[in-house]
Symmetry: C2
């Protein structure tokens, strides 16, 4: 049942190969002081940095920079950024990069005017901000996390060995605007591209595989999955196909901007397992998800059989004739597995460096969430991880 | 191809059988003076009026009322409302009703501070507002138009025999919040319920049947159509099924809040034909759409054959084996026709009072839009209308 929920997503999106021009529409809405945030040097190599700086200067902005945002932004880097944003009296924080840069900017935005320790307040206590928030804008250069249109932010604390995501409740923490130019994604190496595609697919699965009802969200999810599967085959044949990369980029945004979770309890155990594997191997996020997914879904299939049957028929076009529900459901998982192999995803955690003797430790650091078809115990986690080797 | 577009939809939605409670969250954001707008007496009979007024009073609001909003709000009624809102120094315009009430409130909101004639400015010249806009909130009691989460507003001018819709470009004209309680829709007579269901379906069709590309919007549209078809069969069996009515309500919002038109040229000729039939018969909007749809889609099918084939397979599950594209496409339209008959929709314009001698006049008043699979001439319009008798 759809039940009771709220939905609000005010981020303004500019999409397409001319999208950056619209930065000129947005900048006049904010004060003079912009903090420009990016990762390593790739945006300097591909020219995006120069284009953005030119537009900022044309709009008479004073620029401070935070560079070197890492794939898993650390709490130390957060403190550094808060300091820069405070000194610059930031009116706007402009993320130029992928989900990590965007996540990081949201963390800075809720911390600049916060008197408490932001790690403790937001990522341990999961408090909501009580201070004034600095607006965030985003120029997206990688695809997958959906951070460009949600209020999520993941920060890593190496001292306490915690990588924690906080999905803030207040929609004012979502980026005010995001610029999505699919051309920026064309230069991504294939390994990163397919890892991103699987991250998107799994975001949808995490929301889809929960609940027993005829929910509109599930139908939308099925549409998004079919679009993604279709475009992914075009993209692995020709990574320069703009149309396929456009559809992948747009699907990524809608896979995790809260729409398809409306009325759903949601699962997220594949992400918990994948993040634990990632913390012990430093492997690419999407690949950690891929490596645990098939064992996980086979393990929970009996507890959500009707949804797995529906997944087989509606997403993968499995013929139901003369088959038991279990057979249909398993054929769906097999079709998904074949697609993952076709993409060239990492299908086993051993290929990411996991060995049998690491499993107990990985299982211990796996956060267990409720909401999916099966309540997990430590033993369940161990069983799935063993299957994933 | 997805191409270049922007998307922004900041309306905050509260959904579910406790949704009205959240009016208490929203009211403190606005000043003291609220203009309460509604249609005839139904909200007084079913108690919604009393509940809303109680919440307004509890929040210490001063209330002025505009009542008697008709299904096709007139320009005279608009002038009357502007006058009331000005005298009350409105801080918030609160719509309690269906799409007509919501459309009307948006028209008032852009006109209160406007020095020019709003009919001339917004519905003849299609100008955007240059004045300050009064915020609109919505408590939705009927389902179909999507007006609760878009910037569209239809106003009728009987003197000039024009019923004109203006979809404003500025997202600040969208309702600031909308309260969607599916229980409010349970008392609607079946005729109105199925007319609303077809209105929703046709909104999706108008956007889906355009373009030749593999567009994510089309996949989302197919999901919404399948959800709607599924829930509609439950709703006609048992109109009190809360889950089905919930899914229908949620689908209606997403069918016309601009999401599924992103990257599409869109058609809207069924609406143009239906509105012309409506202007000559005063028939229910959804029924005018139903009565012209099958002749229209059969007429344009050869010009968009691959999409009609896809519609047959992806939405209606038509088996492609051993059939020509034309046969598959036609089977899809037949499946849609059977569903419409199952719902009890009006399938011919003659059943709405149209006679052969009226066709020339109806055709003359049909606005021709480009964007669909075939550019229409006056003769094409006449041919479709003749088929619809």
């Amino acid at each position: 049942m759809l039940g009771n929920f709220s939905y609000c997503n005010p981020t303004k999106l500019y999409f397409g190969d001319h999208a950056l021009e619209y930065l000129n529409n947005e900048l006049p809405k904010y004060g003079k002081n912009v903090v420009l945030v990016y990762g390593k040097n790739s945006i300097k190599q591909n020219g995006i940095y120069d284009e953005v700086v030119e537009i900022l200067k044309k709009n008479d902005k004073s620029i401070a920079e935070i560079s070197g945002i890492m794939p898993n932004p650390t709490v130390e880097k957060l403190y550094e950024g808060i300091d820069i944003a405070r000194k610059h009296k930031a009116d706007l924080i402009l993320a130029v990069g992928g989900g990590s840069v965007c996540d990081y900017c949201k963390a800075v935005s809720v911390s600049v005017n916060c008197d408490e320790d932001p790690w403790e307040k937001y990522y341990v206590q999961f408090d909501e901000p009580t201070c004034e928030i600095i607006p965030v804008g985003c120029v997206l250069t990688m695809v997958g996390t959906g951070s460009e249109m949600n209020a999520g932010s993941v920060i890593t604390n190496h001292k306490t060995k915690m990588k924690v995501g906080h999905v803030f409740a207040d929609e004012s923490i979502m980026p005010k605007f995001s610029i999505l130019n699919p051309k920026y994604t064309l230069t991504l190496p294939k390994y990163q591209m397919v890892a991103g595609i699987y991250d998107i697919f799994n975001h949808i699965c995490e929301q889809y595989f929960s609940g027993e009802d005829d929910n509109t969200s599930d139908y939308i999810s099925e549409g998004l999955m079919k679009s993604l599967i279709h475009s992914s085959y075009i993209a692995i044949e020709n990574s320069q196909n703009y149309e396929a990369r456009s559809n992948i980029m747009w699907t990524a945004t809608w896979a995790l901007n809260t729409l398809v979770s409306r009325g759903k309890s949601t699962d997220w155990m594949v992400h918990m397992l994948g993040q634990a594997v990632g913390a012990h191997t430093d492997a690419t996020h999407g690949m950690t998800l891929a490596a645990v997914s098939i064992p996980y879904y086979k393990y929970i299939m009996p507890y959500g059989l009707s949804k797995f049957k529906r997944f087989a028929v509606n997403v993968w076009g499995i013929d139901e004739n003369g088959k038991t529900d279990e057979e249909i459901a398993l054929e769906g998982i097999s079709a998904m597995e074949k697609w993952m192999q076709d993409l060239g995803l990492v299908m086993n955690t051993s290929d990411l460096g996991v060995t049998e003797d690491m499993i107990e430790d990985i299982a211990k650091s796996t956060i267990i969430l409720e909401g999916g078809y099966k309540s997990f115990t430590h033993e369940d986690i161990v069983a799935v991880l063993k299957q994933s080797l």
